[in-house]
Amino acid sequence: MPDVEDYGSFETAWCPGCGNFPLLKAVKEGLAAAGLEPCRVLFVSGIGQAAKAPHYLRANLFNGLHGRALPVATGAKLANPGLTVIAESGDGCMYGEGGNHFLAALRRNIDLTVLVHNNQVYGLTKGQASPTSGAGFVTKAQPAGVWSEPFNPVATAVSLRAGFVARGFSGWGDHLADLIRQAIEHRGISLVDILQPCVSFNKVNTFAWYRERVYDLPGEYDPRDWEKAMKISMEWGERIPLGVVYRGERRAFDDAFTTLSEGPLAGRNTDRDLLERIMDRYA
């Protein structure tokens, strides 16, 4: 069984005090709790402060384009179903530039774990509004404040009946690590939207702001009740629920391809008889 140390420790390019630090720690703990060897795990990230996270642990990594973590993760998972594939990136990356892939991945219900560092701001590009920024949030790009309604990833995921929908908080390390473990263990798509304070550019949604509001969904809360989940997913503002909001039963997309039960696509033999038979159909 690997332990947290097996995931290594690296110098980061983050600001001191950033919510990404406890988040990174929770990811490693979640991986260790799930008992995964680094070489069996593939992280796929996009671009942003959050997207650097997998550079700061030991695992396989494909750090791709801004917004495109999910398609790359999908391709990799379909090519090698034996990999545990984790798509990790920021709110701008996953819900902004990558919004269409987010919808499609939820619909596919492919066996990926999606970790979103939701700091409600574009960190790396210095503080423009992100899709989850609150209405009225003032930035240099939105000097009169954000006008659009914030995107609610949890509600969207529940409304599309994604298999596993959770919200964590980087200030609640153990709780978060456990959500990540559960997400990894869930077969089908699992979303963990993680509230992650950005100390440099988001002076509204700070550690203190979140701490005052977050609460753990009570033990009796049944994440299999879609209607309740839908309602809970809309709760935001005074109180913000953390935990597994929804769990649905859906067939995993990976099962759509029977050939995947035979393992990775790499290194397979080409069936020459079959090739010939296919060619002969053109005779």
Binding site: L61, L65, P71, T74, L78, A79, L265, A266
Partner: protein, 570 residues
């Protein structure tokens, strides 16, 4: 309007054009007739003209056939099979003096030599297209059994009544047509030749990919590329492929990169507008050094343009697509065989150079059925994704320095080594860096791979001798037309040669520059409005191709078109 018809060597060939509305079953008739011709030993070249709609409008399916080898379409029509009046109006002018219109009793041949088929008498209306097929096949002297066999394959799976109805309609049509002759004989049945396949360009690309070991294809539908992923999807179950329709082209290219990174030889196929959305992904493949085969079936642009027509307008776009600098190769098949062979080559080059390789085709070739000698498909080697783990230096570095720029490529999850790839500039171990010395080294490492590609350039082909009076230079689907135009010129006693580029990037001037210099006149023949290949040649060699024969009305370049332009241009 009757065009001046320039007869080409194709006089030994015969051209049947079937025209009608979308939804009248004309493609089925065309395919069956073409298949029957191939089964009877003829060479065929099919040209499909259709519109961006599902029903109505005007479509055409023309089959040029002959006893020898054929590689180009033909404008002049010997037999026009008109399923509607519009066909007579549009194509009447293309009928040869000695040609014939075959049409239903209700239609007006407009003064052209014609044969009216008593459709209603011979079969129910829903079998009209088969009656037309039977009548045409009979006139062409095809053995009825050959047509029946082709038909039973196509309609075999249908509801009982349908197959029978078709069979009867065909028989009736054959009987009826037996009484008639064509004004000019169609080519005699060729001596028995070995079995040939009938395949269009897109099918050959799909089959080439399959034989090359493709394991993953992601796509978003876009005419005229869609039939490539559709063919692969059809084989996916039996052949163990994953074919996935993505939510958009951006996703398609990124999925393919992810799959390739994880070890599946991968392909995407699209057309210009969809490819535009993939250009960031192309750059990603270049930076992460991920093998990727990208097929682009061109159609006329800009923007949506003419979705179902042909053009060669995207050469420069594809050559420079993606920001930043990185190596690539662009193959441009000139025939259905080349679609197969060059797609295979694309997979090999992509793996070898660890980057994006393009197959640049177009609607004409994509949809052009031809007779094809069966490939020696058993003996062809598929690619192997990734490098052997044995001998890899530890700790493993994905971007380890290498004299030729190619680092060992391990696949994630398949060994105990960690594989780290990055779209940022990165150190040898794949982690992002802002070290500017490393940056310089990595740029140079990536660019060194261009040499590998340069070492494997498909040399341009040359038909005809050196020092020609006229040298026609073509690329991609224009090959057949240019070569046939040259044969015609030579048959008329003129000194001419045809040089064809089946690979347009990289160029190796040593392979062609001397020949160009030796020609009196060099003429680029391209399916675009500005002469993109001519510009590229000048950029790479300084040699200015002064004359151009260009076409940009959505139709393929024909031998006649070239000859008209040469004559027009003096």
């Amino acid at each position: 309007m009757r065009r001046t018809i320039v007869h080409s060597v194709g006089d030994s060939a015969f051209n049947v054009l079937i025209g009608g509305e979308a939804g009248q079953g004309l493609v089925t008739v065309g395919q069956l007739l073409a298949k029957s011709l191939v089964r009877s030993g003829f060479a065929v070249v099919v040209t499909q003209g259709y519109q961006s709609r599902i029903r109505g409008g005007h479509n055409s399916f023309s089959i040029r056939f002959g006893g020898g080898a054929l590689a180009a379409p033909q404008e002049a029509v010997n037999l026009l099979v008109a399923l509607d009046q519009e066909t007579v109006r549009i194509h009447g002018g293309d009928i040869r003096q000695d040609g014939l219109v075959l049409l239903g009793e209700g239609l007006d041949p407009g003064g052209l030599a014609s044969l009216k088929v008593p459709l209603r008498e011979l079969a129910e209306e829903r079998f009209s297209n088969v009656v037309a097929l039977g009548a045409a096949a009979s006139l062409l002297g095809l053995d009825e059994e050959v047509v029946v066999k082709a038909m039973s394959r196509t309609f075999g799976g249908r509801k009982a009544g349908v197959a029978e109805g078709n069979r009867n309609a065909l028989g009736k049509a054959y009987q009826w047509a037996a009484a008639f002759d064509l004004p000019v004989e169609s080519p005699p049945a060729p001596p028995l030749v070995p079995l040939r396949l009938m395949m269009n360009g897109n099918e050959a690309i799909a089959l080439g990919a399959l034989s090359a070991g493709v394991r993953f294809c992601a796509f978003y539908p876009m005419t005229p590329s869609t039939t490539i992923p559709l063919a692969l999807a059809g084989w996916a179950g039996e052949a163990g492929l994953v074919v996935e329709q993505a939510e958009d082209e951006i996703s398609a290219v990124n999925m393919a990169i992810g799959a390739s990174f994880a070890g599946a030889p991968s392909l995407v196929a699209t057309s210009g507008g969809g490819f535009a959305l993939m250009t960031e992904g192309v750059s990603l493949a270049g930076m992460t050094e991920t093998p990727l085969v990208i097929v682009i079936a061109q159609r006329p642009g800009p923007a949506t343009g003419l979705p179902t027509r042909t053009e060669q307008g995207d050469l420069e776009f594809v050559l420079h697509a993606g920001h930043g600098e990185f190596p690539r190769a662009i193959l441009s098949p000139g025939s259905v065989e080349e679609c197969f062979q060059l797609t295979r080559r694309a997979f090999a080059l992509a793996e070898k150079s660890q980057g994006p390789v393009f197959v640049l085709t177009d609607q004409f070739l994509a949809d052009s059925y031809r007779d094809v000698k069966p490939f020696d498909i058993r003996s062809l080697e598929p690619v192997t994704a990734g490098s052997p783990v044995a001998g890899v230096k530890v700790p493993y570095e994905r971007y380890a320095d290498a004299a030729d720029g190619v680092s060992p490529r391990l696949l994630p999850g398949l060994t105990e080594h960690l594989v780290v790839a990055d779209s940022d500039e990165h150190t040898r171990d794949g982690h992002l860096t802002e070290d500017l010395d490393v940056r310089r080294q990595m740029v140079e490492k990536r660019l060194r791979k261009q040499e590998i590609l340069l070492g494997e350039v498909v040399p341009p082909s040359l038909e005809g001798a050196g020092n020609p009076g006229i040298l026609l230079v073509s690329w991609g689907s224009v090959k057949g037309a240019a070569e046939e135009a040259v044969s015609t010129l030579r048959a008329a006693g003129r000194s001419a040669a045809a040089m064809h580029f089946s690979q347009v990037w990289p160029l190796a001037p040593g392979q062609f520059l001397e020949i160009m210099r030796s020609a009196e006149r060099v003429i680029c023949v391209e399916g675009n409005a500005t002469g993109q290949m001519a510009r590229l040649i000048r950029r790479e060699t300084g040699f200015e191709v002064r004359e151009k024969i260009l076409r940009y009305d959505g139709l393929p370049i024909t031998p006649e078109y070239i000859l008209r332009e040469i004559q027009g241009g003096g």
